[in-house]
Symmetry: C2
Subunit: 122 residues, 2 copies
């Protein structure tokens, strides 16, 4: 049991707070994707550790679009409508900022949390 979800040690599901936008932007960096594909991309690149519910992904994409970080366009593929998103210039800048911010944040937390400073690759 408990093989799915964000973590095997379910501390808090809200650990994602504040980092989601960057993840979504990163998933769109390699090229346009529609919402469901973004969700799958995040799941696949993290070996299933980041399996976000659709109720998280879609509203977040809407916010990003409204913020001008991505642009979306409708299309129909195989009878199913899709909204395909693409990074804007602002989106790319924001992604870069999100990466910087993550580095700083992760370094600070890792330092304060102590134990093993950084995860050994082994």
């Amino acid at each position: 049991m408990e093989r799915a979800g964000v973590a095997l040690l379910p501390m808090r599901a809200e650990a994602l707070k504040g980092h989601l936008d960057g993840l979504l932007l990163a998933a769109l960096e390699d090229g346009p994707r529609h919402g469901y594909a973004v969700k799958e991309a995040l799941r696949d690149t993290t070996d299933g550790r980041l399996d976000l519910p659709t109720g998280t992904v879609y509203p977040a994409l809407h916010r990003l679009e409204q913020a001008g970080l991505i642009t979306g366009s409708w299309s129909v593929v195989g009878g199913r409508r899709r909204r395909t998103y693409e990074l804007t210039e602002d989106g790319r800048r924001s992604l870069a900022g999100a990466r910087d911010h993550w580095q700083e944040f992760a370094a600070a937390i890792s330092t304060a949390l102590g134990g093993a400073p950084w995860p050994a690759t082994s």
Copy 2:
């Protein structure tokens, strides 16, 4: 201007969500501390990057105590009352779990965020 605070790139202040408890427990690992000292310890060990407001620290400590992860005792030092906290056994276990969880979480985010996988020590 803007030399203080959690980050030089203020993304979201709620980035802490779900990680605070572990940080507080870690600050108590080396020995008992009172609330204000915990706040200072986190600020100092992170070079001022993690300067939590008292309105964040104290309620969190109360929660941890109610959860049985720390125990507190009153004392008076220099006319000022202090509540000194100490890790319980459950607290130590929880801290270990928090570290594990952080490693997994950080690895997943770093992977999904891409860019530089892990910060080079140099």
